[in-house]
Structure formats: C-alpha cells, structure tokens
C-alpha cells in the first residue's frame, strides 16, 4: 500500500539512471537547456521548459506526453512495477530485518508464537484433567514434557492451547488502540480548530482516568464472558488517548512541511493528503506503538488474570499462574514451581520478541537504511552477491 504512495519519490533516481544508460545522448535536462538556447530545435528534443506543466513535452518515447507519464512509461512495465513493489515493500524490509540481529530474533520469536497459535493446537492434545499424575515436574516425561498441574493437566497442552486466544487478545487490543489513536490524532492535528480542541478534550479526559481500575470495573460490569477480543479492547480501553496526543503533535510538525503544502496547493483532498503524505511519515512511530500496545495487552491481561479479576472460559497463561499460586502455593513450593515458571517464561519470551521486533521496525521505516537496500536490489539484477556485500553496511 505504501509502495504506491512512496514509490515514485524514492525510486525515480534509480530509474533515471537506467534511462540515462539506455538513451545516452538524450539527457532531458541538457536538451532542455539546448532548446532554450536554440529555437530551431527538433520538437522531439525539447524537454523540460518553463511551460512543461501546460504543454506536452517531448520524451524519448517520441510522442507527446506529460513529464510525469513519460518517466513511468519509459521505465516500468506492469511486471516491473509489480516486481519493484515486491522489492520495495517486502524484500527490502525483509533484508533490513535479516541484517539486524535484534529484529531477526524478534521476528523468529513472533513467528514461532504465531505458529504455536495456529498449528500448535492441531498438533498438541487438548488440555484435560488427569492427563497424567498430579504435579509431575518439567522435563521428566515425554508424554507431558513440561510437567502437569495439581489436576494432572499437561502444562504444555495448556500453554499451547492458550496461545490462540492470547494472540486474538493481543491483536484486538493493539489494533483498537492504534487505529483509534492514529485516526483521532491525525484528524485533530491536521484539521485543527474546533475539531482539534474537541477531540483533545475527550482524549485528555480519557487520559486522566486510571486505566487499570477502569478495566477492572468494566470487566465486572459488562457481560463479556471471557471473550478474548473484547478483553483485549478492555485492557487498552483508554490507551488510545496518549497515542492520539502524541500523533497529533507529530502531525502538527508535518502539516506545514513543504510537500504537504504542495499537495494542498494542488488541491488534493484532505484524505489523500493525510493518507498519502502524513501517515506514511508516522508509520515508524505507529508501528512501534502497535508493538508496544501488544506488549501492554499481554502484561495487563496476565496481571489481571493473575489477580483473578477478569472472567475466563479457556486456558490462559495468566490464569495458569494464578492457579499455580492459589492452588499450590507455587511461590514457595518446589514441587509446583514449574507450574508458575513455564507460563511466566512463555510470556517473557513473547514480550522480548515483540520488543526486539519493535526496535527492528524502526530500521525498516528509516528511509536511509531502506533506500540503500532498495538501491542494491534495483541495480543488482544480475549480480546476486552484491546484496550480501553491501547489505551488511
């Protein structure tokens, strides 16, 4: 999506180089200078002039067309455009990620959790009581490798079968916060005036409400019956306000940037400007926040489940820890400690993976790092190893 909006701006230098190579003596800019000097110039040779915007100009394509069309027509077929998009949006970020050990580790970890949440429940048996003897320790038996609980339920089964609902919860909470925060923040920052003050008043009010007690009260008052998507939203119920405020101030600095002003003068409508010019510049910040919210949802939900204030109808890492402590006193019992430790490790590792991924995301959206990787891709069609050599820099 952002490939289409960002594409021309960044790729054009690369492609211009190609053009120059293909048509040696036809540097449009040079020709244009020539044209000004010599009135008797062939129309084909006339390129950029002071009238470029109003009149058709000649290109190396031969026929009359606008300057904007010219570059695209000359250099990109549909296939190329598609390939370029792939390079731009997928390969370059992937390479950036792969070059950075933190992002790489984060990506591997998060992928493993996604796998655990999708394939895992199909492979690992459902948790049920009396799968084995009571309180078997971890790594003692192959049939329940992570041990069992006080009811003889396999801890591995519980951890794996808790993953899908945890992922749903994390995603719903993070999406809710980021979508609401970004929309309202951008709107307030770009529009200003009454809309701004109205939205910011609402978000200030939301920010002053303490989130945790609000969540606890809402969890008790609403009929949510343990639906993970709803609980995800509930935990981040007022987190969007902080994000909206931060995004608004970012937008305030961007709205008067030259290129935004240019778009405005050209008469583009607000939504195009916001989506095309402003939001892409905020993407690093938004992505960071997405990941951070995901972490906040995990820690928040686990904390609240541990305290026993959220309703649940399924296995859940926080509930496992709660059960370990309340039913078996796992904090001071060697026999039951694995029951507390393993879900805790599961949560910590996921939290770590998301943190690392967030740091990597910063690099993905850093234009300089990204451009360097894209350039390597574009110029190095024939030389595969160039990626490897330049990539590490």
């Amino acid at each position: 999506m952002d490939g289409s909006t960002r594409g021309p701006a960044e790729v054009s230098p690369v492609k211009r180089t190609d053009d120059t190579e293909l048509s040696d003596e036809r540097d449009p800019l040079v020709d244009a200078v020539d044209a000004d000097a010599d009135t008797d110039v062939d129309p084909d040779e006339r390129a950029i002039t002071g009238r470029a915007c109003e009149e058709p100009v000649a290109t190396d394509g031969g026929t009359a067309a606008s300057e904007f069309d010219a570059v695209a027509d000359a250099s990109l077929t549909d296939t190329e455009r598609r390939r370029q998009w792939v390079e731009e949006s997928l390969l370059a970020p992937a390479r950036i990620v792969w070059d950075d050990w933190r992002a790489r580790t984060g990506l591997v970890i998060v992928s493993l959790y996604l796998l655990m949440g999708t394939v895992g429940p199909l492979v690992v048996a459902k948790p049920s009581t009396n799968q084995g003897p009571l309180l078997v320790g971890a790594f003692r038996s192959l049939s329940y490798p992570l041990g069992t609980t006080l009811s003889g339920t396999s801890i591995l089964s519980q951890i794996v079968h808790a993953t899908p609902s945890m992922l749903i919860m994390i995603a719903s909470g993070a999406v809710f916060t980021v979508v609401l925060g970004t929309t309202l923040g951008t709107l307030a920052g770009y529009k200003g005036g009454r809309i701004d003050s109205a939205l910011m008043t609402v978000s200030d009010v939301m920010m002053t409400i303490p989130g945790l007690p609000l969540t606890i009260v809402l969890a008790a008052a609403l009929q949510i019956e343990g639906n993970p998507a709803v609980i995800g939203v509930l935990i981040t119920v007022n987190a969007w306000a902080g994000l909206a405020r931060a995004i608004r101030s970012q937008v305030l600095t961007l709205r008067d940037a030259e290129y935004v002003e240019a778009s405005r003068i050209m008469g583009m409508d607000t939504s195009t400007i916001v989506v095309g010019d402003i939001v892409p510049n905020l993407m690093p910040y938004i992505t960071m926040n997405f990941v951070q919210q995901a972490r906040a949802v995990i820690f928040g939900s686990v904390g609240l489940y541990f305290l026993g204030v959220l309703p649940y109808n399924n296995v859940n890492w926080g509930v496992m820890m709660n059960a370990a402590v309340n039913r078996a006193g796992a904090t001071s019992s060697v026999a039951a400690f694995h029951w507390l430790l393993l879900p805790m490790v599961t949560i910590i590792v996921l939290g770590l993976g998301l943190t690392l991924l967030a740091q990597g995301a910063d690099r993905i959206f850093n234009p300089r790092v990204r451009a360097r990787h894209a350039e390597t891709v574009g110029g190095g069609d024939g030389e595969d190893d160039s990626t490897a050599t330049t990539g590490g820099l």
């Binding site: 009811s151 309340n326 039913r327």
Partner: protein, 597 residues
C-alpha cells in the same frame, strides 16, 4: 437469612481465598467407620427418604462431593489430642479445646498464635453487622451449647440446661458467667441475644413469632436471673430448635446493645423496626465487651491480642495468658505461616498435597466432616437444563470420583457423593446405614466413579438431541452447557474443570466461565444469571437433613437465584406420603419441621 447463608457459603468456599470459617458445631457424625445411630421415628425418616428420592430423581442440583475440613495444630510446644481423637471432631478445635483444657502449653510459651482473615484494626464484633466479624470471636464470646459428634448429643455450655414442654422451651443459663466488664451475664442477656437474632430475620422467628414480629418481646422472656422462656407458635421438632440455638455466641451485652433491644421491643410497626435494624447493622464494635475465656486487649494492622479472663468459669483449664490472631488474608500466607512455625494452628484451611508435604512433623492435620460440598446448580428457567433429562444426562456423564480427586488436590479432603440425594455424611456411611436404610436400591447413583455415557446418550436422544460429528445437537444447535463459578475458589475451579473435560469428551459443548469471586456471588449468582452455577449443595451451617432440604426447596436462594419451581415431577418412594408424580417438596419440608420427636 438463608440467602445470607448461601452467600456466606459462597464466601467461605471449600478452601477459597475469602473463607470466613463460619462453621458451627452441629454435626452428627464422626469419621468412624461404623454408622452412628440416630433416633428417628418412622414418619420423620420416611419423609426424609421421600425428599431424598425426589432430589435424586428431579436433580434440582447435582451434588458432586462432600468436604472434610482440614484443621491444623502444632504439637511441639502445645499439647493437643491426637488427630484421631474424637475430641477433635468439633467446629472448631480452636474454639473448644482451650476451654476444655485439651489445648495447653507444654513448653515455655507465652501465647497461642492463630490467624484471621480480616485486617485486625478493621475488624469488629457486632454479629448483626455482617462485616468483618473476625476470628477472635471464638474466644471472646461463649457459645450457647456444644454438639458432641460421637454421642450425637447436645451438651450444655453457656446454656447449661433446657427443656421443651409442649410449646414452651425453657433455657437455663450457666452459673458464674461474667461479662468482661465485671457485670454478670444473665438470662436477660441471653433473651436479648435471641430477640436480636429474630428481629434480624433469624430462623427461630419462624417458630416463635411467624406472623408478627411485634409479639417477640412477649414470647422471649427472662423469667428470672437464670431462666429464659420461649413460647412457641406451634409444635416444633426439638432437634431443629437446638440446631438453631446451639451455634449462637452470646454477644448481646446490655451496655452495648440494650438500647436497640428496648427500641425494637417498643417499636409499633415493621417500618420502625427495620429502621432500628438498619442502625444496628451499621454499628461497628471494635472494642467488644465479651463473655468468653479471653478478653479483648488491642488490635493493630497486623494482629489482634486477647488475654485470659480470670473470672471465666473455664479459666482454670487454660495455662497460657494470651492468644494473638495474625492478619493472614490468603490461603498461601496461612500455609506459609504453618510451614514456618509462625502460627500454632488453624481452625480450618484447605491445603494441597504439595504444601502438606512441606509441613514440619510437629504439625498435625485433622480431618473434620463438613457436611457440605461442591455441587452443580441448575437454573430451572434456562435452556437446556430446565429439562430433567439433560440434568440426568449430565449426572451420568460426570465421574464424581475424579472430580473429587482433582478438587482435593492429592489430599483426602473431598469425597465423591454416592447417592446424589441431598443427604450428607458420606464419610461415615450414614447415608446408606441410617438415612436410606433399606431403600438404597431404589436410588440412582448416576455412576459415582465412571462416565455412564450410554445411559446419558439414551436420555439425550429421548430429549430430542442427536449426536452429529461427535457433538450433541438439537435443531442444528449444539448442546451448550456453560458452568459459571467463582475463580477465587480454586478447589471448586479444579472440580468444575474436571467436569467440563468429561462433558466435552462425551460431546457436550461445555465450558467453564470463571468470574471474580465477589462478582460471581454478588451479581451472576444472585441475579440468577447462569445456566449451571457452582454452589454448595447442602445447608452451609447445619447437618441435619431438614436444613439441607429447606435450603434446596424452601430458601430465598432456591426461589430467587436458581428459580427452582415449586413443584417437581418425580416417581414415588413411599406411597402413603404422596399421591401422584407431582410433588411440592417445600410442603414435605414443612411437615418435617413440625414432627414431634
């Protein structure tokens, strides 16, 4: 009152965090293997059996397990009877053993250390203000009577003697009882205690002043210094009267509550009375004048200290000067207190096997029958459990032995119910040996230690369900059984999850929905917002079967929370008691209360 009992039942839980230890010593049974004998006339027994049979056939609730409370005593510095001694079979050893000279200091120790749930400085000792009536009440106040679990006889304590003569019940107060401020505890105080209980909706009111509370002052009177007379409104079974009187603590000190008694006695209308009751309920007494063997000293944020009261008749039996109650608000902190030798005992506390293994050898664990336990409560106005065939199918599928095993967490403290009938005392074989003697073959066991899936399948098919792709469905909709419960009651959660696993294996779409304990009791349970809920299946405070059936068929909870219908369809056991399949169990319960004994 019953509703309050239900709520307390909830709050106490079997091992839940918020347990309040409201236990009362009214049990009939010890853990002996031989079934104790109970003297019952044929008619009373037949009525009980009929009610048991209706319960067994109509399943308003499904009793799963019965509880044995674990009680702990340290033996290194203290001399206590061994855990098998029948003296331990009381509610609770911490109440009675020190008074009887059975719990004495053997080493060089200054004070006995116990635990309490509520913050000591926030605790108060007005029994009619239901909040934070904390554990020191056990030694600050004296109980009316004591119940001997072996001989199944009531023994006098604060009420040293009593007699039921027609419709007059006479109580005699023990000699030498003194309040901690030095004034004698007299029959007037005992009468005040009974009156305040009745004004507050206590169960005795039903027998003393069923119609008009304005007559209470005339019906409960102190005829001299040591004699209280209750004029009953009709014939009443003495066992029931004693069961209601026995657990009371004498707390109605004249200087503290006298004005309330006077205003209530003189009140002209129900409105006036409820205004006074409201005032009484909001009164907090943080520095009580008691009548027990220990007097209140002080309380801070961490402990309550009480010291021996030399003028108590039993003071000579006690050889240590103080008891302290430490603030231990959770099971874990109590487990650790016992493990680290910080506390010297616990009246009742659920402790799983792995923690029991950590206890030092000097701590002994006594099992005390609790006549109560986890059951599945059906909401009779919600699909699909309003159909008795579905309830029976659930009963057949659930393996109660396995539920009890998981709920007990490796201890022997939970026993699966053999005959789901509303009768307690599984541990002493009394259900088969006494209550259901000779009729047990008529009763359905629903498979105590197995999942009887074939029988369950037949019942569901009869009810219009069909098994498709491993799931039971009716009109394309899967049979969905959500089981709601309080998440803080960890042993219940373990039991419920076991039941859910078994139902799922059978193809019923069951799920356990666990809510914050106070939300569950305060909202879901009391609004009847559940299909299947977790709740104790017997009366929390009593053991005599009458009280269990009253709770199941004629209580506020039954009518309002789980929407129990007034009539059930059930086959007949004794055809001289009933005609036709339709039965109103509440009527049978009422007959049981008036039976003469």
């Amino acid at each position: 009152m019953i509703s309050a009992a239900g709520l307390t039942a909830g709050l106490a839980g079997c091992g839940g965090r918020q347990a309040t230890q409201n236990g009362t010593p009214t049990d009939h049974n010890s853990v002996d293997d031989s079934a104790p004998t109970v003297e019952l006339d044929d008619e009373t027994l037949a009525l009980m059996q009929e009610l048991a049979y209706v319960t067994n056939q109509a399943l308003p609730v499904l009793p799963l397990q019965e509880k044995l409370a674990q009680s702990f005593q340290t033996t290194d510095d203290w001399s206590v009877p061994s855990k098998d001694n029948s003296k331990m079979q009381t509610y609770w050893p911490t109440d009675w053993l020190p008074r009887e000279g059975e719990w004495t200091a053997s080493g060089d120790v200054e004070r006995l250390t116990l635990a309490q749930w509520a913050v000591p400085s926030d605790s108060q000792y007005n029994p009619w203000n239901t909040k934070n009536f904390a554990e020191p009440r056990r030694t600050l106040f004296d109980r009316f009577m004591k119940y001997n679990l072996d001989s199944q006889e009531y023994t006098g304590y604060l009420i040293s003697d009593w007699a039921l003569d027609g419709q007059t019940f006479t109580l005699t107060v023990r000699e030498g009882q003194t309040w901690h401020d030095g004034s004698p505890a007299t029959a007037t105080d005992v009468a005040n205690q009974i009156k305040l209980d009745i004004y507050n909706g206590g169960n005795l009111g039903e027998f003393v002043a069923p119609e008009d509370k304005g007559t209470v002052a005339d019906r409960v009177t102190a005829s001299d210094e040591r004699t209280v007379e209750l004029s009953l409104a009709g014939p009443v079974n003495e066992d029931i009267l004693l069961a209601y009187l026995q657990p009371k603590y004498l707390a109605a000190h004249e200087g503290t509550y006298g004005e309330f008694v006077t205003r209530l006695d003189e009140a002209g209308s129900d409105e006036e009375r409820s205004a006074v009751i409201g005032e009484l309920a909001s009164k907090t007494v943080s520095d009580p004048v008691g009548c027990g063997p220990f007097a209140f000293e002080n309380a801070d944020s961490q402990r309550t200290l009480v010291s021996k009261f030399e003028d108590h008749p039993d003071a000579g039996n006690i050889n240590f000067p103080e008891i302290e109650y430490l603030y231990k608000p959770s099971n874990q902190s109590r487990w650790n207190g016992l493990i680290n030798n910080e506390t010297d005992g616990s009246a009742t506390l659920f402790m799983p096997r792995n923690k029991l293994n950590q206890l030092p050898d000097s701590v002994q664990t006594t099992l005390i029958p609790r006549h109560w336990g986890l059951g599945l409560l059906f909401n009779h106005e919600r699909e699909p459990v309003n159909d008795v065939r579905v309830r029976k199918a659930i009963a057949h599928v659930i393996n109660r032995e396995s539920v009890a095993k998981n709920s007990g967490a490796g201890t022997r403290s939970k026993i699966a119910v053999t005959y789901p009938s509303g009768l307690t005392s599984e541990f002493s074989n009394q259900v088969e040996g006494t209550w259901l003697k000779g009729v047990t073959d008529k009763f359905e066991t629903y498979g105590r230690a197995e999942s009887q899936t074939e029988k369950a399948a037949a019942l569901l098919e009869d009810a219009g369900y069909e098994k498709q792709n491993g799931t039971w469905k009716k009109d394309g909709e899967p049979l969905h059984i959500p089981i709601k419960g309080p998440s803080g009651f960890s042993d219940w959660v373990a039991g419920a999850q076991t039941a859910v696993s078994q139902l799922k294996d059978f193809g019923i779409k069951a799920e356990s929905v666990m809510k914050d304990s106070s939300t569950y009791w305060g909202k879901d349970y009391s609004n009847g917002d559940f299909v299947v809920g977790l709740q104790g299946w017997a009366s929390y405070n009593q053991s005599y079967p009458y009280f269990h059936y009253k709770f199941l068929y004629d209580s506020h909870s039954a009518k309002n929370y789980w929407n129990s219908p007034s009539e059930f369809e059930s086959p007949v056991l004794h055809d001289d008691l009933r005609d036709g399949e339709t039965v109103a169990p509440a009527d049978l319960v009422a007959q049981l209360s008036t039976g003469d004994n």
